[in-house]
Amino acid sequence: MSLAEVLNRFPKQKEYLIEILLEYQRQKSTHSFTESELKEVAKYLNIPESRVCSVVAFYSFFSTQPKGHYVIQVCHDLPCHLNDHFDLLASLTTLLEINIGETTKDGLFTLEHTSCLGHCDKSPAIRVNEKIYGNLNLDKLKAIIAECKENGHD
């Protein structure tokens, strides 16, 4: 769906700014916005660009930096830390050969931290794009990454 099509699904009211941004970013494989897209949103809602930028900068879901096809978010909080018996983050950085905050050269994976995902009953947990994976161990982690690699950029 183009940005114009997404915009047309929402009323021209500024309180829908976050909903619009969520809806549009969700379907972008870069998981991020370009400057011209943010300008278009501002124009549609008749608000200053600075207002759009302040929202994009505030909420951690939004980004202006292009990301990999699969964004792997690693929970950073206490319940996951307590149940992390195999050093989840180190395993991921080894498997993907990137550090936290980086994207693989083929553009397939981005690795980042996230605050608590609310799945502490299944800790340690990660979120890959919109899907949560819990009760992780090294074998499960390898299987998740293998599956992503198999699906590639689809």
Partner: protein
């Protein structure tokens, strides 16, 4: 059995995507009963139940409901706060994923009592599954006439919209949530005026935790008086608890107030998985106090929790066994608040950053006696001077740790000094 299922009674028994399953188990019956009653009588039931808010602060629910009912300005908004972002809490997710219509029923009752016509459920963006389930439940409820115009042929209109968060913990704070709903960054407002007089779009707004709304049908069903008999005098009824950390059966359990934590951890949680001893427990989530094992006979009760000067009513128990580095745990908590601070007020924005820096000194064996005092002073400054609940409760873990585990801090300082001596000698 220490569990008591009032609001979780349908968990696992119904398909959350099916309104017929819900209706088969007495769903929306209490709404029908409520709509036949006088609004003031219903408010009186809630007052008699002594129900306190389930989101953490424990504010008397009837006071808020009455404040909104008194407002004559329309439209009035009913906001259901499902922006559950506190580490260690996941009971709101369980509610939405197991019994979405119970929440809608509760919101309808609240709207009827207060003559409000517009409802919003604000769900954190990470909960895709819950968002899908709630949206589906609303569509089904509209089709069957439990939402919309002239609900069940009574002179009462009420509609609910689902709105999503975008990855910000502070938006669980009432005014930050309202700002977010208005399409702005989630930075809180100065109170008063309170939301019940000037909330969303400066209109009268009731904002309550999702568990609070889910409790209303149970109260109307059994009467406020009967509900008040459950639990303890200061904390009536039942509470959903999120049990996590180093415990065998992690999950959500509903228990009446007044049960000792040890019983919950041992009987429901099954103790630690590794068989190691429990060292401490963090109550309420990242914003709550850390207490030592010997205090686990304390009962779950708002009044007891308030002795820690903290708002710990959200009902998380994070069990921490022996063997974890004490300061790494404090660091995790401190990093969380440093990241989630909205930046509007100075104590929270700058203070959390400096608390983290000092904790890192303890981790790196660089801490001196002075650092412990600075940590303590600064923690109190944050607690007393921050604008909203986030900054006020951010240092609770540190303050409680300094109180109950002072020896651990002192030992680390001594170890740091002897390391320094060793370097000096080389």
């Amino acid at each position: 059995m220490i569990e008591m299922k009032l609001i979780s009674k349908r968990f696992g028994k119904i398909n959350p995507m099916s309104i017929d399953d819900f209706l088969a188990l007495d769903g929306y019956k209490i709404l029908k009963k409520a709509l036949k009653k006088d609004k003031l009588d219903l408010l009186d039931e809630i007052q008699q139940s002594k129900l306190r808010g389930r989101g953490g602060a424990g504010f008397p629910v009837a006071v808020k409901l009455m404040a909104l009912a008194k407002e004559s300005k329309q439209p009035k908004y009913i906001i259901c706060n499902a922006d559950e972002g506190e580490p260690g809490n996941f009971k709101d997710r369980y509610l939405m994923e197991n019994d979405p219509h119970e929440i809608i029923e509760g919101m309808c009752i609240a709207a009827y009592m207060t003559s409000a016509n517009k409802g919003i459920i604000y769900i954190r963006g990470e909960y895709n599954k819950a968002i899908k389930i709630m949206k589906n439940a609303i569509v089904q409820a509209k089709e069957k006439g439990y939402l919309g115009e002239n609900i069940l042929n009574f002179d009462f209109d009420f509609d609910i919209e689902v709105r999503s968060g975008a990855g910000s913990y502070v938006c669980g704070e009432e005014f930050s949530l309202i700002e977010s709903l208005e399409g702005k960054p989630g930075r809180t407002r100065v109170k008063p005026p309170f939301p019940t007089s000037k909330g969303l779009f400066n209109q009268p707004t009731l904002i309550n935790n999702i568990e609070t709304f889910a409790t209303l049908p149970a109260i109307i069903e059994m009467s406020g008086k009967a509900y008040a008999k459950i639990g303890t005098p200061s904390s009536t009824g039942t509470k959903l608890l999120s049990l996590s950390g180093n415990v065998k059966n992690r999950g959500v359990y509903e228990v009446p107030f007044g049960i000792p934590m040890r019983k919950i951890i041992e009987e429901l949680g099954g103790g630690t998985e590794s068989g190691k001893k429990i060292r401490m427990v963090q109550l309420g989530g990242a914003c709550g106090p850390i207490i030592p094992e010997y205090m686990l006979d304390m009962v779950i009760d708002f009044e007891r929790f308030e002795e820690f000067e903290s708002k710990t009513g959200a009902g998380a128990l994070i069990v921490i066994e022996e063997g974890h580095d004490f300061f790494e745990i404090l660091k995790k908590i401190s990093e969380f608040f440093t990241h989630e601070s909205c930046g509007k007020c100075t104590p929270c924005r700058e203070g959390n950053y400096h608390l983290l820096k000092i904790i890192e000194k303890f981790i790196n064996y660089e801490a001196k006696e002075k650092d412990m005092y600075v940590l303590e002073n600064l923690a109190h400054v944050l607690h007393h001077t921050s604008l909203c609940g986030l900054g006020q409760s951010a240092p609770t873990a540190i303050i409680s740790a300094l109180h109950y585990f002072r020896g651990t801090f002192q030992k680390r300082i001594e170890a740091s000094l002897s390391q320094e001596d060793a370097y000096a000698k080389n």
